[in-house]
């Protein structure tokens, strides 16, 4: 997987009801697995291993994204820092932070309430559970279609 987003699927998808997601993790294997797993659920997924490049992509189309999934521990720009910048660019976007580490209160006491995060997931997470988590935050496909029509 390259640093640049993988556009194989998302740019060609003409399903207007499909939600666009941003996935950022410095582990290329994890990024690839999440991308494939979410695409199977008909999400449009832009995936990055480099958080700075992910931010640039997000800023170029901030209103186009429904949700971002960010690894917390990344060099140069952590998931927490990236979440803040993403929210600045689009306050409506939903954010899920992801970590392989035990989630303890003290790690996030500095983060809240300054950063509005919508959910946490602990790696390893099953793709089915992750898809459910995403849909619980942005709605199921039918709901999204209905909202678009409203």
């Amino acid at each position: 997987l390259k640093d640049n987003k993988d556009n194989n699927d998302s740019s060609n998808n003409d399903n207007k009801s499909a939600a666009r997601l941003l996935v950022v993790d410095d582990d290329p294997d994890i990024v690839q697995i999440l991308q494939i797993g979410l695409q199977r659920n008909r999400f449009l997924v832009d995936a990055f291993t480099n958080p700075e490049q992910a931010l640039q992509s997000f800023k170029s189309n901030a209103s186009g994204y429904s949700l971002v999934i960010l690894d917390i521990r990344m060099p140069e720009l952590s998931g927490i820092q990236l979440a803040r910048k993403v929210k600045e660019a689009n306050p409506n976007v939903k954010i899920i932070l992801m970590t392989a580490f035990e989630i303890r209160g003290n790690e996030f006491s500095k983060v809240f309430p300054s950063t509005a995060v919508d959910g946490f997931v602990q790696k390893p997470i099953g793709l089915s559970d992750l898809n459910k988590k995403v849909m619980s935050l942005i709605g199921y496909p039918k709901e999204r279609i209905s909202n678009d029509q409203d």
Binding site: P28, R73, E76, S78, I80
Partner: protein, 240 residues
């Protein structure tokens, strides 16, 4: 020169730096280009220090005889154990991977039965974040206790390989100040010290520091600095 050879030479340079350049009682700085190379660094050092030839022979014997390591009690084996008791204690405090992942990588790259090194006190694995926060001096206290244990057990000393990633997690000038204060509390050289302290920086974190910050954390270059090169990609994979 092919890629594999140049990567091996780079590995040897790092080990040489650990063994020859960094003395006991010194606190130093190492910059690594990505997580894969950080893994290679601690794995190669660990193998160099702790997996001695005697271990390999013993493992072969164990496999052939089906005997457990701690059941061996003949004189030759006893002597071998004596030499093992002089092993350094190696502390690895990762930030961009879990301690379970460190054990997994050691095992995957040829360290058989990593757990026995944990059990005999030669390998100590702690999460860097949990070591620094909420008590910024938590890691120092742990290293002090390991240093004392090494002396009591007659070991060669302690090597602390610590990822400084936690200081970069929240961003902002405050974090740099916190890092500088922490590094300032680590003397470049302590007389009669038995700890080799290696503060490890991911290249992408290190590059976010200003020139003045870098100057301060190295205490005006009084701390030794080793910048590990990016490897040729034939046998390493970049996380960047």
């Amino acid at each position: 020169m092919n890629n594999e050879n140049s990567n091996e030479e780079e590995d040897e340079l790092v080990i040489k730096w650990f063994n020859k350049e960094v003395g006991d009682g010194e606190n130093t700085i190492l910059v690594y280009p990505n997580l894969q190379i950080f893994r290679q660094i601690y794995t190669n050092y660990f193998k160099d220090q702790l997996v001695i030839e005697g271990d390999k022979e013993e493992e072969q014997e164990e496999n052939s005889e089906g005997e457990k390591y701690n059941k061996k009690n003949d004189d030759s084996k006893y002597n071998n154990k004596q030499s093992k008791s002089k092993r350094r204690i190696i502390l690895v405090a990762p930030f961009y991977e879990t301690t379970v992942s460190v054990k997994h990588h050691l095992q995957a790259f040829g360290v058989e039965n990593t757990q026995r090194f944990v059990d005999d006190g030669s390998l100590v694995l702690v999460d860097a974040y949990q070591s620094f926060f909420p008590d910024i001096n938590g890691l120092k206290k742990l290293i002090d206790s390991l240093s004392e244990r090494a002396r009591k057990e007659g070991r060669a000393g302690v090597t602390a390989i610590v990822d400084m990633g936690p200081f970069f997690m929240f961003g902002g000038d405050g974090s740099a100040k916190q890092l500088i204060n922490y590094e300032a509390s680590l003397a470049p050289k302590t007389q009669d010290g038995n700890v080799k302290g290696i503060s490890c920086y991911h290249r992408r974190n290190y590059d976010t520091l200003t020139k003045a910050d870098k100057e301060e954390i190295s205490q005006g270059k009084r701390k030794k600095l080793f910048e590990v090169k990016e490897r040729n990609s034939s046998n390493t994979r970049s996380s960047a």
